[in-house]
């Protein structure tokens, strides 16, 4: 636990010591801000719907971008060798890095609460679905970060890591959109794998254990895959 915290602090500091975090957060806020305000007064509805609809799209690029350096950079510079010969487990490193990237994403998400606060001045808001949507987005980002970190552990090239994680994330995202073209027996399986399907459940304000289990197990699988990828150095 202490080791996870050490890695977490170091990773978080290196995000916020470099301009990357700020640039990414600003871009995130500009895009979500535009979707928040552009329709607000035309439609005259007090809703976060537009923002919550666009964020999963932004995540497709945003999360591969912030997670691509986690292991690639250490592989490229060779610091991975230092890290992996310290008395900490591979899993501590993976979890520490995961939590740091999740915290950066949560920070970006938390800044969008400004929109929610400003909505409260305009009329009553649907608190339940808004809380649900934030939890859903955080869980969704968790699975994406897991994928991003895994992709990053595969290569020392950050661009390659970005492309790999984008492809996996985009694939999971698309599943729900192509279901109509598939035979129904496949469809239900693919629906369960689809990130989007579970998000839409939670975003309605219905927090079902099946959806939570889906996300948590997805995160666990990718973190374990990342650990396996780190360990593969030993077999080569």
């Amino acid at each position: 636990m202490k080791n996870i915290l050490t890695i977490f602090k170091k990773e978080l500091r290196s995000y916020f010591n470099s301009p990357v975090a700020y640039i990414v957060i600003v871009v995130f806020l500009i895009i979500t801000g535009w979707f928040f305000t552009s329709n607000l007064f035309i439609s005259g509805v007090v809703t976060m719907r537009n923002v919550f609809d666009i964020i999963p799209f932004i995540f497709l690029f945003f999360i591969p971008a912030i997670s691509m350096r986690t292991f690639s950079e250490e592989k490229k510079s060779g610091t991975i060798e230092l890290l992996l010969t310290k008395p900490i487990t591979d899993m501590d490193i993976v979890v520490g890095k995961f939590l740091a990237t999740l915290t950066l994403t949560a920070t970006a998400l938390a800044l969008t609460l400004i929109y929610v606060v400003s909505l409260t001045f305009l009329g009553p808001i649907d608190t339940g679905s808004i809380i649900g949507a934030y939890i859903g987005l955080l869980l969704m980002s968790g699975i994406y970060i897991g994928i991003g970190i895994f992709a990053s552990s595969l290569t020392e090239n950050q661009v390659v890591a970005f492309i790999i994680s984008f492809l996996i994330v985009f694939g999971l995202f698309l599943l729900n959109k192509v279901l109509v073209f598939l035979p129904p027996e496949f469809a239900s399986v693919l629906e369960y794998i689809s990130v989007d399907y579970h998000f839409s459940n939670i975003a309605r304000g219905v927090i079902d254990s099946r959806d939570i289990i889906y996300y948590l197990s997805g995160i666990t699988i990718f973190l374990l895959l990342t650990r396996t990828s780190l360990e593969s150095r030993r077999w080569s």
């Binding site: 202490k2 080791n3 050490t6 170091k10 500091r13 290196s14 010591n17 470099s18 510079s77 060779g78 610091t79 991975i80 060798e81 230092l82 890290l83 992996l84 010969t85 310290k86 008395p87 900490i88 487990t89 150095r233 030993r234 077999w235 080569s236």
Partner: protein, 313 residues
């Protein structure tokens, strides 16, 4: 803190990087791994530090198996990998703190440990700078400080002086010597002078195998096959072949050949037998031939020559 390596092998695909080597390093020894690039020095170190797992064989650090109890082994070892990888965006003090935390130095002892390393490694003037701004010499010191922050009993340094300028090399060597007094120290290098200057014992590694093991002095005397002699004579009308024949006939001279020839002088290269001293005989011979000697130089085979003999294909 001893290191024991038994029948260690590591393959990259079909190629054996390390091929069935065994050796033992005793507490307090300073041991140099000497070998050409790609000989398996780094691979061996990576296995001792648990970064890689051997395909065959076992490694014990103070009787603890690196495979079954790698965390305990890691705690005992301070490691400076090849190329000295560092986080260039961190400043020196933050980095040392990070290293100390990773090594599980108790929180209360961390400031003391950092201060000690800053003093020992001479990092005082750069401690608040980013590592990326430092010169190579200072970066090397940061790498050493990082490796020793938890006061390990075993230090493993992979090419600690590569890429440094001559002054920095001497500084780092002195630092290593100072540190080596209290620790078991293994360093690798492909520079002969380095082992001669710092190590108690040398393991010469070639193509994944140990080809020689011993102190620099014993290796020198064991492999000292011959003397290399350079003889320069003033050129005159005497026939060169005749001189060569005359010189070759001197007792204890093994081989003789003409090295080069210019307007005024002829350079000969002679090889003398082990343990002999042929300078006097050469001098007398030349005088008896009524020739003028311009130079005579005799040298014992150096560790460098031994290294070349053992590691060339």
């Amino acid at each position: 803190m001893s290191i024991k390596v038994e029948n260690l092998s590591k393959y990259y695909g079909q190629q054996a990087a390390v091929n069935n080597i065994s050796f033992e390093i005793n507490t307090g020894e300073i041991v140099g791994f000497l070998g050409p690039n790609g000989a398996g020095k780094s691979t061996t170190m990576k296995m001792i530090t648990t970064y890689l797992t051997p395909n065959n064989g076992k490694i014990f650090v103070n009787n603890v198996d690196t495979e079954t109890n790698s965390m305990e082994v890691r705690r005992k070892i301070g490691y400076l990998p090849e190329q000295n990888p560092l986080y260039l965006d961190m400043n020196v003090l933050d980095y040392l703190e990070y290293a100390a935390e990773l090594e599980s130095v108790p929180k209360a002892d961390i400031p003391k440990a950092i201060k000690k390393m800053v003093d020992v490694c001479g990092l005082g003037e750069v401690q608040h700078k980013d590592i990326g701004e430092l010169s190579k010499g200072f970066r090397q010191r940061v790498g050493l400080a990082q490796a020793m922050i938890h006061d390990p009993e075993v230090l493993i340094l992979d090419e600690p002086t590569s890429g440094l300028d001559p002054n920095q090399i001497i500084e780092i060597r002195n630092l290593i010597k100072k540190l080596g007094k209290e620790k078991t120290l293994v360093l690798s290098t492909h520079i002969m002078q380095e082992v001669e200057a710092t190590c108690d014992r040398v393991l010469i590694i070639n193509k994944g195998e140990i080809v020689a093991d011993g102190s620099p002095d014993t290796l020198q005397s064991k492999f000292k096959g011959q003397l290399d002699i350079t003889l320069i004579l003033k050129k005159d009308s005497t026939d060169k072949a005749l001189i060569l024949k005359a010189v070759s006939s001197i007792k204890n001279i093994d081989k003789a050949r003409i090295l080069k020839e210019d307007e005024n002088s002829i350079h000969f290269s002679l090889t003398g037998l082990k343990g002999s001293d042929v300078r006097e005989d050469i001098f007398k011979k030349i005088v008896s031939m009524n020739m003028v000697m311009l130079g005579l130089h005799q040298e014992e085979t150096s560790l460098e020559d031994i290294f070349r003999q053992l590691t060339k294909n």
